[in-house]
Amino acid sequence: MSLASTARAAPIGAFAARAILIALMLVTLLPFITMFSAALAPSGTYPPGLQWPADPQWSNFVDAFVAAKLDRLLLSSITIVACVVPVSVLIGTMAGFGLAKLAPRGSQFVYLLFVIGLTLPLEVVIIPLYYEIQWLGLLNTKFAIILPLIGLYMPFSIYWMRAHFVNVPAEMSEAAEIDGASAWQQFWLVQVPLARPPIMSLAILQFLWTWNSFLLPLVLVEIPLERTMAGALGAFQGQWGTNIPLLCAGSLIILAPSVIVFVLFQKQFVAALLQGAVKG
């Protein structure tokens, strides 16, 4: 019964469903299409919203690449991601395991302390973070972004990984314990290999959050090229906001890496985003 038969019984439904989805996809893509058409207009002009230019200026993308210093920006963003994500995933996974499986006395309270952070807006801590990073002498360095992000990712990481570890059958660890494995060995040899899918999703989500973080780099790092992508994009708008073709070309170029990575790994991304929303 079910799927096939209902689909056959309601061809009109299937048609309506497609029409609605296509409309939604158009609404989703329209901003990018209009940016693309504007990006091809002569630099410095004020083009109409959506019109294929008579003489497409592909060189705008080259100019924008140079103006945005995209090569340096990519390097900076990748460095920050490469520092934040592995550390944060590792210590989040360890803590998730500790809280779920080892559960020492008082761990309930500590877990609650972490969960409280799930709904915390960044704006609530941004002011003290500025003075703290200043006190550490790290303002305007990559560490000003890296260190706070790791701390800020802990509530979700721990919530996410603990939820996984709680559902791993106890026999798994009992068998390892009988073999005389320490908690450390148990973690690395038994639990981490089993936790690959949630760890992968967590890494993907943290990559996106880091890449797209804006307020934190804006406040803590004055030099746009030392920030991550979104922070630099904000500065790019500030500098080129009046030159619509260049702004659109630059925005598209700055967006391109994350969209390419997304399309390549779209299955994992969509799964991570869906689960991440449900659990978060």
Binding site: M1, L3, A7, G13, A17, I20, L21, L24, V27, T28, L29, P31, F32, T34, P48, G49, L50, I91, G92, M94, A95, G98, L99, P104, S107, L113, F114, G117, E123, V124, V125, I126, I127, P128, L129, Y131, E132, P148, G151, L152, M154, I158, A183, L208, N212, F214, L215, L218, A230, L233, Q237, L247, C248, L255, V263, Q266, F269, L274, A277, V278
Partner: protein, 283 residues
């Protein structure tokens, strides 16, 4: 030994979240310009936040944004889910999923820039309005006192629409199809199906969508900063932007911190009942 697993996470969390929350609470009791000596002011900053019209209006604006950020995506998403139900298979379904998720992948800053261009006086929105004979409605939407806030709301709705739709579509596929068949046999209309089968079956997903979107609206910063900067005349100013401005441009650290604490409490007060209803009904 067990605590060794937890300690590194707790260390980072304490240093960059817990202690800062405490510091914000402490700053909120001070009059401080961030450099010189601070004066203790008690709850005076909170009184200012709750009585100064310019500050109070940021909170009002944030709640207006909730209407757009939450109601539009959840409402449209529910309608779409009901119609699509089981039709999101095959390559077409995969393409749709991928495209609808793009706004979740790009930075909010980019969404702000793209939509600023769409909503500009010769942007595509006005172009479309003129094309369908509504040329009288064209304007620079983000510079208009009456329409800037709804325009910002539409940007947020665009960002969140794909996520909510996909969550609800994925959820509805898990509802037992026999429930719909039974409803049909009982002569239920499409609307009855929606109210008595779809909405109850999606309770959890709806709760998730509302939670995510309400937080996005109340704590909004990126989109507003890029699209309007809070203008014109503060008509799109939100707490997040005002905190940033007060603390880092006007050097009123105490007042900014008080607004931050108020924002934190507002988010918790709005989210807790949603979580509570979700859990209560699930039993």
């Amino acid at each position: 030994m067990a605590w060794l697993f937890i300690a590194p996470a707790l260390l980072f969390y304490s240093a960059f979240v817990l202690i800062p929350i405490g510091m914000t609470a402490y700053y909120s009791l001070l009059r401080w310009n961030g450099i010189g000596a601070a004066q203790f002011r008690g709850l005076q900053n909170y009184i200012t936040v709750l009585t100064e019209p310019d500050l109070l209006s940021t909170i009002g604006n944030a709640f207006q944004l909730v209407l757009y950020f939450s109601l539009l995506p959840v409402g449209i998403g529910l309608g779409v889910a009901q119609i699509i139900r089981q039709h999101l298979n095959g390559p077409f379904g995969t393409t749709a999923r991928t495209i609808l998720f793009v706004p979740q992948v790009i930075p909010l800053v980019a969404a702000g820039i793209a939509w600023s261009w769409m909503l500009a006086s010769n942007g595509v929105v006005n172009q479309l309005l003129s094309a369908v004979g509504l040329g009288g409605w064209t304007r620079g939407w983000l510079g208009d006192f009456d329409f800037a806030l709804p325009a910002v709301g539409i940007i947020g709705a665009w960002v969140l629409l794909g996520l909510c739709t996909m969550l609800l579509v994925t959820g509805i596929a898990k509802i037992d199809p026999t429930l719909y068949e039974a409803a049909k046999l009982d002569g239920a209309s499409g609307w009855d199906e929606f109210i008595y089968v779809t909405v109850p079956g999606l309770r959890q997903e709806i709760g998730v969508c509302i939670t995510v979107t309400v937080i996005a609206a109340l704590a909004s910063f990126d989109i507003v900063y890029i699209a309007t900067g809070g203008g014109p005349g503060g008509s799109t100013n939100v707490p997040g932007l005002e905190i940033y401005r007060l603390a880092f441009a006007h050097r009123q650290v105490g007042l900014a911190s008080a607004l931050a604490i108020v924002l934190m409490i507002l988010v918790i007060v709005c989210i807790l009942p949603i979580q509570w209803i979700m859990r209560e009904r699930r039993r």
